[in-house]
Homo-oligomer: 255 residues x 2
């Protein structure tokens, strides 16, 4: 069919597009995406989230827009909005929420293209794209559809996770996408009773991933932030209220 | 090309084939697969693991066979073996371990078929297949290639995870695969200093997933086990020494 017009792929686009990637699932990639977006909106930026994680799509719950759908007007549709952030998710286009999405490769590319071109995003400063974990089709499609997009890699503290996280960065490098940096998530947690620091997931994984990716690209890929394991971050996510709204200390980390 | 001969798909096969599935990544699916396999081998069963998680493939590290490759003899190859368990992983077929696997749909089906037919598994009592997280191509392919295979769904304790975990079961139900049950992983952890139970990931997710899947299939889908969050399980995994080898209490849970 005809090529769709994607505003963010135009040379004069002022929107920064960042794909949030991880080698494995469950490292907190979607929670990081949501808290980054809401923190940026709190600071006055115009922000959108495109949930392209077809297998997980947890953004609607994390953003408190679980049963909302975009309003369709002709060929375009208006994203739902909460906490000052516009949200479009693959989940919103399924007939029944509990329908498992069993997309196959080439269909994924077309769906991503459609969400980028047909949604009426308006003038955004920042568009975060929550990619599926791993190095599959969609990460490659994003690089093809928006060559100027950048990649942020999320990983957990254990060294063993660095190897898988590095793979997510390698794909980006192969398709000449800029790797912005690494976020280590679920670092040491204090015991709620005695305050002892418990290192649930080991340590050093973020720095190790950043080092491996720096060696790969031949330039500095920084470890941008370490987000501690915080039970309130999880409960906030389960209830659709991102923690950066209520916890200024955590909000500072996301800034 | 010609249909490949898969011994486990034959009506007289005595091997129980179980796909280990999860709605999301990072819930401990691969760690559960490895500890189940090693526990069964300790109890005298002949066990194999096929690591079909193309995007994560963490089985070789968890099983302590990171840089080993199967020996090829003509058209067939001999799986690597450790702790009495035979292991074949998609990772073993890549030129460089750090190569990101960017397989697309139809290729995945053929690679799975090849690993099932060309590996010389011998007489197995049990074959565990570590599926990629989510509801994508490979879960569907397994049901097509081995219709008698069963599915075990792994989830974490928070209720929010039950919705995604349920999806993994729905695909199995749609392709008429039997859902064996649910395992809840990373349940309450004791503080190493004061012993206080910390509920890192909430509670009730396993029971909720089992209930939803029971309603879906119209029969009892049991919550088979709850595995506590155990730092030694993580460190054992990172070092390629499954915890059931050294911790009898945990081994009892896996039996
Ligand atoms: N820093 C953190 N502290 C505590 N829990 C976290 C943190 N980050 C993520 N989580 C929890 O971990 C689980 C997985 O997070 P999620 O964002 O869904 O991961 P992913 O998108 O990588 O699959 C969720 O239950 C989430 O609430
Ligand atoms: N019961 C547990 N207690 C402590 N850590 C665990 C437990 N189960 C898994 N883990 C850790 O959680 C991380 C994710 O586990 P993994 O088996 O790779 O998940 P998946 O295969 O679902 O992506 C690993 O670092 C692993 O060591
Ligand atoms: Zn304590």
């Amino acid at each position: 069919g005809r090529e769709k017009f994607i505003p963010f792929a135009q040379p004069d686009s002022l929107t920064r597009v960042i794909g949030i990637a991880s080698g494995k699932g469950g490292v907190g990639k979607s929670s990081i995406t949501v808290n980054l977006a809401v923190s940026a909106a709190k600071a006055g930026f115009k922000v959108g989230i495109l949930d392209a994680d077809v297998y997980g799509h947890s953004i609607p719950r994390l953003m408190g827009v679980l049963d909302q759908r975009p309003t369709a007007i002709d060929q375009t549709f208006i994203p739902v909005e909460n906490f000052g952030v516009k949200v479009v998710s693959m989940e919103m286009f399924k007939p029944e929420r509990s329908d498992p999405v069993a997309y196959r490769g080439p269909l994924l590319h077309r769906v991503l293209e459609q969400l980028l071109s047909d949604a009426y995003w308006g003038d955004l400063d920042l568009l975060l794209i929550d990619l599926p974990p791993g190095t599959g089709d969609i990460a490659i499609s994003l690089g093809q559809l928006i060559p100027a997009s950048e990649i942020l890699v999320v990983t957990t503290p254990q060294i063993a996770a660095a190897e898988v996280a590095e793979r997510a960065g390698r794909v980006a490098h192969q398709i000449k996408q800029h790797i912005l940096g690494v976020v280590e998530n679920m670092s040491d947690a204090p015991c709620p009773k005695c305050g002892e620091t418990i290192n649930l997931f080991g340590s050093g994984g973020g720095a190790e991933t950043a080092k491996r990716l720096s060696d790969l690209v031949g330039a500095n890929v920084p470890l941008i932030a370490k987000v501690p394991f915080t039970v309130a971050l999880r409960t906030g996510g389960d209830n659709g209220e991102p923690i950066v709204l209520v916890d200024e200390k955590i909000n500072q980390i996301f800034k």
